[in-house]
């Protein structure tokens, strides 16, 4: 085990060194103008939304966000490409306390998700937050042995995975067509921006929710607690 | 001389290649039988072309071909000898083994010999020389026996060495003369500074191998017994002469004084003349004896070359003497070699008339060789004497006379030895009788020394002819023969004489023995060095090494082991060689 120790000390030293170097660098930074933040702040009106974060996310750096959704889709496909796991879950769903609490929480969570979605344009929230909450709802439904309503039909599942990215692209193409000078994507005017951003948020939230649920179920239709196996979408 | 004539000459000279092609295609005996046909164009060109030379249009770097007095004489002799030898070969050689291969190599060598005689520039001369040398290997190693291979390997090693020396010498000469023409080469080499001396030495050495100059002669006594009779005749009569022609073409004789070359040639000539005779006497096989006699005769030619090199003014007469000597020796030696095989065949057939004819046919060339009167031999000896008596040859005349007389005596004794051996061998021969064509070919060559006298006057000053007819000349040529006949008679009478014990004490290729031992020592030393050089590489040299070991074993296994080997050396040959060395040193000091 001698070499093992040496290896571990070595790695420890290296990672400490790395951390130290990074800390030293960060502390000695000089904040130079112009900071992207000021420019963003200046252009906020033209972005069509009032919340800075949502503006940056869905207008200024819309491309990043689209790619982010793509990352989710890749992870989803990657997980589902593996052969579905046969591991079964042992606990019984019919535990009364669990049933009652989940039953009570679910409607509130759904409401919260939809609110977050709408609040995104002016206050912190937006598609990722609502997607996460809706995803959590889905997971809870699976945990208590129920099936999430919309996920039975295969074509529906296929569509909902891709809808987030597709809407993004449609918005981009629309922006390109309506642009005056250059024909860069997503260069729609402030007015149109608000509408498109909302559309993107809705589709994004749906995709994110479903993907997170799919990642949890790990390639199985639902959590067949006892039955095991299942047919992938 | 316009180009068509030159091309005609080249084709004539290279005509025997057709013979080679014919025998390659499966008809060797026919090709050999019509030998004279292949030689005819060359002989014809003697008359037609005469003393001219011209450039070949595109071939061989615009080589220059042509004939002059010396090459005409050479060509005549060679053509006759080659033709007769091929006829004899066709008549006597059995069909077994590679007769086809023999034919190809025979005619290859023949073509090479003719081409080099007609060549007037370096590249064609060297091409002819190379073709002849490499093809001759085929003749030497024809018998495919162990001794033939060994002789072939020694011949090949020396030939390759000669080729390379010639090549190096030619390159050096070319760098001086910047042209291929042999005439200009001679002029360019006629200086003493720069690389000329090195070039001359290399060229002299290269042709020395072919002409059987003493230290380089060791292949001759091995090659002749191994080769079939016709081949050894040609080898000795025609091919050795190529070496002499090489000297004449390349070396700047008669243009400047070459003291070192002159002296060494004379010394080696003397060494050759006497050393070869002594070793020849100790041989058993008749062909080896004849080989050693060739070496000693070549010693005379070397003497003449030496004199011409030492005193340029003597060059014209020396050249003529050489030509006479070459013609005489060619014909005589060719006949003698044929007689080794033909005489017993003829004599064997029983009828006294045939034995008488065969003995006459053998005796005639032998006697001619010793310089008997009214034969080309006498003419050659007289030519030798007249050259050595030229006024500014500062050699002591007395010493020279002694040399000539001693030479004649030595040759006589060697011939006697040869005749005794042939006579003794005649009973043992079990071969069939001599076919007619073989007899005719042999006869022509045997009487060569006579009809040669008829054709030689074309170039030789008439006064020489006159002199050999005078009585005194006849007597001075005759008495050595009488003495030799007497000695021979005594020897045959008494068996077990000193001479007998000495016979066979020296292995043929005399100097080869020590040379092999020396190479063994060198090889083992280099092998150890190569072991040091690279580990896995020694496997290759190891194989060479164990081959050397095998040779050493073979020698050790021979009776009497090492002690006996050294003992034998001390008694026989070294004594003779020491004698010859002292004599040559004497001459050297005076030159």
């Amino acid at each position: 085990m001698r070499t093992r120790h040496i290896f571990e000390y070595g790695v420890a030293l290296a990672s400490l060194g790395l951390g130290g170097l990074v800390a030293a660098g960060a502390l000695r930074r000089r904040s130079l103008e112009p900071a992207a933040g000021d420019v963003v702040q200046g252009l906020l009106e033209q972005s069509g939304v009032s919340s800075v974060v949502t503006a940056v996310l869905l207008n200024f750096r819309a491309y990043d966000t689209m790619l982010e959704v793509v990352v989710l889709v890749v992870a989803f496909w990657g997980a589902w490409s593996l052969h579905p796991t046969e591991a079964r879950v042992h606990w019984r769903p019919s535990d009364p306390i669990l049933m009652r609490t989940v039953g009570g929480m679910l409607p509130v969570l759904w409401l919260l998700g939809i609110y977050l979605l709408w609040a995104g344009t002016s206050r912190p929230g937006g598609e990722f937050a609502s997607g996460a909450v809706l995803g959590a709802c889905g997971v809870l439904t699976l945990l208590i042995g129920e099936r999430v309503p919309a996920t039975q039909f295969r074509p529906a599942r296929k569509v909902v995975v891709v809808v987030g990215v597709v809407v993004f692209m449609v918005a981009g193409v629309a922006g390109a067509l309506s642009a005056q000078g250059g024909s860069e994507v997503w260069s729609y005017t402030a007015g149109e921006a608000r509408g498109w951003i909302l559309a993107i948020e809705v589709a994004g939230a749906a995709t994110i929710a479903f993907v997170l649920l799919g990642l949890f179920s790990g390639g199985r239709e639902g959590l067949d607690v006892e039955s095991g196996g299942g047919e992938a979408p | 001389m316009e180009s068509i004539a030159v091309v005609g000459l080249v084709v004539a000279l290279a005509f025997p290649l057709l013979g080679a092609l014919l025998s390659a295609l499966g008809r060797p005996r026919l090709a050999l039988m019509v030998g004279p046909l292949w030689a005819a164009p060359a002989l014809a060109s003697l008359g037609v072309v005469g003393e001219q030379s011209g450039r070949v249009p595109t071939m061989l770097m615009e080589a220059r071909f042509g004939l002059d007095v010396t090459s005409m004489a050479f060509l005549a002799v060679c053509a006759v000898v080659w033709a007769m030898a091929s006829v004899y070969a066709a008549a006597t050689m059995r069909d077994e083994g590679g007769l086809r291969r023999f034919g190809v190599f025979f005619f290859g060598a023949m073509a090479g010999n003719f081409v080099l005689i007609g060549a007037m520039d370096m590249i064609s001369f060297m091409s002819g020389f190379a073709l002849m040398s490499y093809a001759a290997y085929g003749l030497v190693a024809h018998a495919m026996s162990v001794s033939a291979w060994r002789a072939g390997r020694v011949y090949l090693a020396l030939t390759v060495a000669a080729e390379l020396a010639l090549w190096a010498g030619a390159v050096l000469a070319w760098s001086m003369a910047d042209t291929w023409e042999l005439a200009e080469i001679r002029h360019a080499l006629a200086t003493s500074e720069g690389v000329a001396p090195l070039a001359i030495a290399l060229i002299f050495g290269a042709f020395g191998v072919k002409a059987g100059l003493v230290p380089l002669h060791i292949w001759l006594p091995l090659a002749h017994p191994a080769a079939p009779t016709a081949a050894s005749a040609v080898l000795s009569a025609a091919m050795i002469k190529a070496g002499v022609l090489g000297w004449l073409r390349f070396l700047p004789l008669g243009e400047i004084e070459l003291p070192t070359l002159g002296a060494s040639a004379v010394m080696l000539g003397a060494l050759g003349t006497f050393g070869a005779v002594v070793v020849g006497l100790l041989q058993r096989k008749p062909k080896t004896i004849l080989a050693y006699s060739s070496v000693s005769q070549m010693g005379y030619v070397a003497l003449l070359i030496g004199i011409a090199a030492r005193w340029p003014s003597t060059y014209p007469t020396a050249l003529l003497a050489i030509v006479v000597f070459v013609v005489h020796h060619g014909l005589a030696k060719g006949a003698l070699f044929l007689s080794v095989d033909a005489a017993p065949r003829l004599a064997f057939s029983g009828s006294t008339r045939r034995t008488f004819i065969s003995s006459v046919m053998v005796l005639l060339p032998a006697v001619a060789l010793c310089g008997a009167p009214l034969t080309s031999g006498a003419l050659a000896k007289y030519a030798l004497k007249s050259v050595s008596h030229l006024e500014h040859v500062r050699l002591p005349t007395a010493l020279l006379d002694v040399w000539l007389v001693a030479g004649a005596l030595a040759t006589g004794v060697l011939m006697a030895r040869f005749l005794i051996v042939v006579w003794r061998a005649r009973a043992a021969r079990d071969t069939e009788t001599l076919p007619g064509a073989g007899l005719v070919a042999w006869a022509i060559l045997a009487t060569g020394s006579l009809w040669a006298l008829a054709i030689l006057p074309l170039a030789i000053p008439s006064k020489w002819f006159g002199s050999i007819q005078t009585l005194t000349a006849v007597w001075s040529a005759l008495w050595p023969l009488v003495v030799v006949a007497a000695v021979a008679w005594i020897v045959t009478g008494t068996s077990g004489t000193v001479l007998h014990r000495g016979v066979g004490r020296v292995a043929p290729g005399d100097l080869l023995g020590p040379a092999v031992v020396l190479s063994l020592v060198l090889l083992r030393g280099s092998n150890r060095f190569s072991a040091f050089l690279e580990r896995h590489w020694t496997r290759g040299l190891a194989r060479l090494n164990d081959r050397a070991e095998r040779i050493a074993l073979r020698i050790k296994a021979a009776p009497g082991a090492r002690y006996q080997l050294w003992a034998r050396w001390l008694s026989g040959e070294w004594l003779a060689l020491a004698l010859a060395l002292i004599f040559a040193a004497a001459i050297w000091l005076n030159v």
Partner: protein
């Protein structure tokens, strides 16, 4: 042409394609997928042609200016990268069409269902990843880079996990690496934002000055991104992830995904961080790159599995990429950066070809143990030939893109006199030759006595698509002029600040 939002188009078309594919039932997934891929490739190439003809393009999303809104900026470098993605992505999609369809013919329903799911999800996630990759190359906003990078990361992890079995732990380790890498990068962005107040790349570059904050931000970002690009010490996760993933996915990962983080690092180096801050770190990265080249090649040589061998070769080639941070700033002009960029695209094609070919071979032979593959060469000529073409570019032998980039690397290294880099680049080429020819030797080996392994029939498109990618890698060598000219559009490397070309 000027007006059309071509940059967004190149991102949105694959995104829309992915969503469109997911709507259709599983049987039609492949058909819609290939359709979407072709559309995306067309959109991307349209953008590249536009940039090549009329210079760099800028898009202010939503019409807002730099500090508030997000801007997309395409210059030569990003256009070249998008072109690379289009080409490699397109060919791999064709390959995947055949690869997943012919996966299993044994007929039992349970396996059939699993295959069907894999195929469907492959198309959806791959198209999203393609969109995100184009997004990274186009983005000129620090935070936007983070989000797109995250999409690429998660998508890649899911694609790796598709293979199931031993790919899952590898995917897990890859997920941790991706997440923490991105978070460290985000940490750097946080520091920079807290100082300069803007997230736009070029504006941040102008106002960021050398100091401990810049130093810290750079270090933490480099650690994060190096971890995601699998630079030498932090490469542990790459071989299992790239080797055990499905063949089409491992080709995409090795060819494209690791180039994304490299691209971001280059942007940071050239645009955001001042030279004095980035110079020492650049040297360190170059050194790590050199070690990576040697270490990766050495490990690749010793691997027993074909795909592991190719994966470790990626670790080695990443080493080449990081040479740029040492050579680029020092060399006068953009020779160093050009070398890195050109190497990135030629490596993408070559490595793509090799992984596709390896996939085809593994599918035919049934396993990917190199030792047991003796004697299959004759019957799998096409995949081995494609593997060879890729190998040629990897080794940097002519006529291939790798050769051109090796030539540029050595030129810039020679100019600044870094002999070690020259030797390392040359040595890397030779080591690559060692492990590539170890595999190619299989193609020529005659079957062992007991007969070659039996082969399953594989669709021809697997071999041919691998060959197409290999041919592109070779073509990059023959026609190097055009891409290099495209690379110079908009002067991406350093001069842009000097000449004030910023958007």
């Amino acid at each position: 042409m000027r007006g059309l939002p071509l940059i967004s188009a190149s991102i949105w078309v694959p995104l829309l394609g992915a969503l469109f594919v997911s709507l259709w039932p599983r049987r039609y997934a492949a058909r819609c997928g290939i359709g979407a891929s072709i559309a995306s490739a067309a959109a991307a190439l349209l953008l590249v042609v536009a940039v090549a003809l009329s210079g760099p393009r800028r898009e202010r999303l939503g019409g807002w200016g730099a500090p508030a809104g997000i801007e997309l900026w395409i210059d030569g470098f990003s256009a070249l990268m998008i072109a690379m993605t289009a080409v490699v992505g397109g060919v791999v999609s064709v390959y995947a069409l055949a690869y997943f369809r012919a996966k299993d013919s044994s007929g039992d329903p349970q396996r059939q269902e699993v295959e069907g799911r894999r195929e469907a999800y492959f198309w959806r996630i791959w198209l999203l990843v393609w969109a995100a990759i184009n997004g990274v190359f186009a983005s000129a906003d620090l935070f936007n880079l983070y989000v797109t990078l995250e999409v690429v990361g998660l998508g890649a992890v899911s694609l790796v996990a598709l293979a199931g079995g031993r790919a899952l732990p590898a995917a897990m380790r890859y997920l941790f690496v991706t997440l923490s890498g991105s978070l460290l990068y985000l940490l750097g962005v946080v520091l920079i934002y807290s100082e300069v107040g803007t997230l736009a790349l070029f504006q941040a570059g102008e106002s960021l000055i050398a100091g401990t904050l810049a130093q810290a931000a750079l270090v933490v970002m480099v650690v994060g991104l190096a971890l995601k690009t699998a630079l030498f010490p932090l490469h542990f996760w790459l071989p299992p992830a790239h080797a055990d993933a499905p063949a089409a996915v491992s080709a995409l990962l090795s060819a494209l995904v690791i180039k994304v983080t490299f691209y971001i690092l280059v942007r940071l180096w050239v645009v955001v961080f001042p030279a004095s801050v980035s110079q020492p770190v650049g040297e360190a990265l170059m050194l790590l790159g050199l070690i990576a080249v040697i270490w990766g090649s050495w490990r690749a040589l010793r691997q027993q599995r074909l795909k592991m061998l190719v994966a470790y070769s990626t670790v080695a080639q990443v080493g080449y990429l990081f040479l740029v941070f040492g050579l680029g700033p020092r060399a006068d002009g953009s020779a160093g950066w050009q070398a890195g960029a050109y190497f990135a695209i030629s490596h993408a094609c070559a490595k793509g070809a090799m992984f596709l070919a390896a996939g085809a071979i593994a599918r035919a032979v049934g396993h990917d143990q190199i030792e047991e593959m003796r004697g299959v060469g004759a019957r799998l000529a096409l995949p081995f030939f494609a593997f060879g073409l890729g190998g040629i570019s990897l080794m940097g032998l002519p006529p291939s893109g790798g050769y051109v980039s090796k030539w540029l690397f050595i030129t810039s290294a020679a100019a600044t006199g870094d002999v070690i880099v020259v030797i390392a680049v040359a040595l890397g080429g030779l080591l690559a030759a060692a492990y590539v020819f170890r595999v190619l030797a299989l193609a020529f080996e005659r079957a062992p006595r007991e007969g070659a392994p039996s082969l399953r029939p594989i669709p021809a498109t697997l071999g041919w698509s691998a060959l197409v990618l290999g041919a592109v890698a070779v073509a990059l060598g023959l026609a190097a002029g055009a891409p290099l000219a495209l690379l110079e559009v908009g002067l991406p490397f350093g001069q842009s600040l000097a000449e004030g070309v910023t958007p």
